[in-house]
Amino acid sequence: MAAISREEVAHLARLSRLAVTQEELDTFAGQLDVILQAVAQVGEVAAADIPPTSHSVPLTNVLREDVVTPGLTPEEALSGAPDAEEQRFRVPRILDEDVAS
């Protein structure tokens, strides 16, 4: 049985904001199925009582000194933006309604 269906891949692509093509869906569904069957081996390990490791370095609450240091200028911060206006990142419309004229 397949671990993941074409429909599930399409759903995950939508969640991931990837406008994948029909051809990609066909390819990815098969490939991801192979990968998922392989990685599912982690389920063989008896680990109910084992704490998870998210990170190999046991550092917590790492804070810097609370002093002001120079940062990027607005021009530098916007230098790579696809679109900018009035020292801000300009984006396509966010709300799904007509812009008031």
């Binding site: 904001r17 990815f28 490939q31 390990v45 933006a81 696809p82």
Partner: protein, 491 residues
Amino acid sequence: MTDVTALTATQIAGLVATGGASAVEVTQAHLDRIAAVDGRINAFLHVDTEGALAAARDIDARRAAGEELGPLAGVPVAVKDVLTTKGVPTTVGSKILQGWRPPYDSTIVQRLRAAGTVMLGKTNMDEFAMGSSTEYSAYGPSRNPWDTDRIPGGSGGGSAAALAAYEAPLAIGSDTGGSIRQPGAVTGTVGAKPTYGGTSRYGLVAFSSSLDTPGPCARTVLDAALLHAAIGGHDPRDSTSIPAPVPDVVAAAQLGATGDLSGVRLGIVTEFGGEGAEPGVTAAFDEAVDTLTKLGAEIVEISCPHFRYALPAYYLIAPSECSSNLARFDGVRFGLRTGDDGNRSLEEVMSLTREAGFGPEVKRRIILGTYALSSGYYDAYYGQAQKVRTLITRDFTAAFERVDALISPTTPFVAFPLGARTSDPYQMYLADLFTIPSNLYGGPGISVPCGLSDGLPVGLQVMAPTLADDRMYRVAAALESAVGTFTPPAL
């Protein structure tokens, strides 16, 4: 003057320090070499000719003024395109960042400048460091100087190929699952993954933040150690940076070069035997083990029962972190924006931008990570993988109670032909079978050339305990002193 591109970084630094060559002459020689051979190798995505010569002139002026300069002053270095370089293009091998010129330098690049090295340019890589061959670069694969129809490893294949092709004596890589060590192995060069947190991730474009580790690449162990010392150490701008000094890796490499490993206990991982490596790799490794024994090392076999689950755990943890990290590529703050025709919504533009900007392997991993983190699957996949990570760490801890370091082949197979593994992604993943455990544990690992199989290089990996990076340099340098370095046929 001798051909400076044939020299080690140590030799070049000595030559520059004693006035045998200027930094400008050394830099120009490497730029000329790049111009002559890189059309066939494609190691570089961007050559910063002007910047390199300006940096070299600066070094020469400072030396003329009597300034005391560091041990690598005037030595050229190639930098993997995963690290930000102020004003110099940084693409991560992806179309989504094509043309981006970062407004700041990564810590590693700042330290390279402070050490007086001369950055030649940015090297090719699998897109977002996801791959083992550079075939997932959006800018075409790099080629292995040993055989240009074969892969140079990945993701840092550009850095390794630049070293093997004598385009640079030093290079920087980054290692999330083997991306420094595996390219080192298949190109006959040296690549070291430092202890996680021992080198700064500030300005390293994130793939899997709990695993990503920048590190040194070179043609000799001592050169790698010198580069490691120059870039390593605590960085307050990386919250996972370890506030401890870097072990004296240079002294360890020098000690190892005496060829004496008396009193050193090395473990061979039982679970890496059997399946895994192809016969030529196993033969070269076995011969290297004999050599290490002759050098005085004691070899014992060690069982690490959970290592067989390292690859599956990695391909849940790394994609999960990647699916989160790569959300920042949304067509708003930097890089590509596609489909913004004035009618489409932000969400539509984002989806079209990411579809156009990311290649197939990146998309696969984002989808896989989104799956592993989704409710209903989280405990069985991501959560379980994190528990396996704990068990792998315990295997390492137990092993290092009995031995000083573990050894293995770096990679199961030598450089394979271009195109051989791209249709089945999981076959590509197997390239990192032996390197991934160290990433999950966080300890350091190094690949050093140990022999040839059918004329292609084989690497031996040394894995050491967290913060004991010096141990792996000692063992690697000792092996190098016995087997020598490996030079590919003339290009």
